[in-house]
Symmetry: C2
Subunit: 192 residues, 2 copies
Amino acid sequence: MQKTVQKRTLKTRARLMAASEELIQKNGYEALRVEEVVQLAGVAKGTFFAHFRDKDALMEIMIADKLNACLDQADDGPKPGTVAEIITALEPIHSFMTSERYVFDLLIRYSGAAAIAEIGPIAYCFERYFRVVMMWLDAAEMRKDVPSELLAEGVQAFAIQAMSLRFCALHSATTFTDRLETYLQAWLTPAH
Amino acid sequence: MQKTVQKRTLKTRARLMAASEELIQKNGYEALRVEEVVQLAGVAKGTFFAHFRDKDALMEIMIADKLNACLDQADDGPKPGTVAEIITALEPIHSFMTSERYVFDLLIRYSGAAAIAEIGPIAYCFERYFRVVMMWLDAAEMRKDVPSELLAEGVQAFAIQAMSLRFCALHSATTFTDRLETYLQAWLTPAH
DNA sequence: ATCAAAAAATGACCACGGTCAATAATAAAT
DNA sequence: ATTTATTATTGACCGTGGTCATTTTTTGAT
């Protein structure tokens, strides 16, 4: 049982991804059409699906790429110690996540690994997000009555809630940042 | 400018919804096909889209119907006073929300009103969920350092997080209820 | 009853994601 | 260099949601 990968394969895949990148750059994620991608890459439609399970699989990769770049930056920067600093440090990530309605929906849909051992690129990003935040919280002055894993999960939940409401006409009186700050203040430093 | 609505219209609409209900009952939400609906209802395909903006619009109505029934029940039942009781009281709602992956995704996608003055059926359900929980919290023994609106928003955020993880193979060691209880205990009654 | 205007229904058609049997290109063995 | 087995590519085809010019039905005025 050999499984030789021809070098042609890598070139084709690279062409498909370059074409996708170019089209996304021009028209955004939502407007991407598989037919346009294969045309620009100069391959047949079936080839696309020999390389990616479906369109979403490509989208996952493209979006996770950008997200990982943001996460790298957050990882490298100075460690935030307060709620406001944490929100600032996460800003590029949240900004990208809500750059398009389509992107946000896809992120949510793939945020969890559907099957063990096949954790997708986006699920992996959420895992990273969680770990980064937890690390920050460990070093910061936050409530200590619950483990920081729990706190980090909560930060993620509140961030998603705040991003959701950003797309919602009913709740757009408050800005995203203000809302998230209110949430996290109450979650991370309760007065009781 | 008159805008007479013929009674024929109401009958057609009713037939379309009855057909949908029947098919959903048999095969679930995800498997619903517009072509099957119109065939069972005995109308042409175009007619469907004269009654509903798109397939999602019908789904919103069908799902919101069921959800409102759950909310009615929660509204009528005895008011829960503890975290555990709140989770129990919300159980039918959460159970339906996670009955199908497809249903959950659609709920999230339409949980916010996209445009003011055109709040959809599902957004309305989320609004109700929020109000019901807030009412409970007002009467219960919870932290008082933040307004109960904020607490209720948090309950919603944590419930969504817990439901999300229910679909996730990586985090299925803990049950949904246990996880939500941990979240809400920490959110509603912090020890500090 | 007749007719004109408004409303509703129709179904051929399109867009777009995805499939698969057939074909072509490549790698390995002789 | 030839052959063979494996891997990659192709494009006609399908399923399904959604559109729209045309036709049918209803309504209200005369």
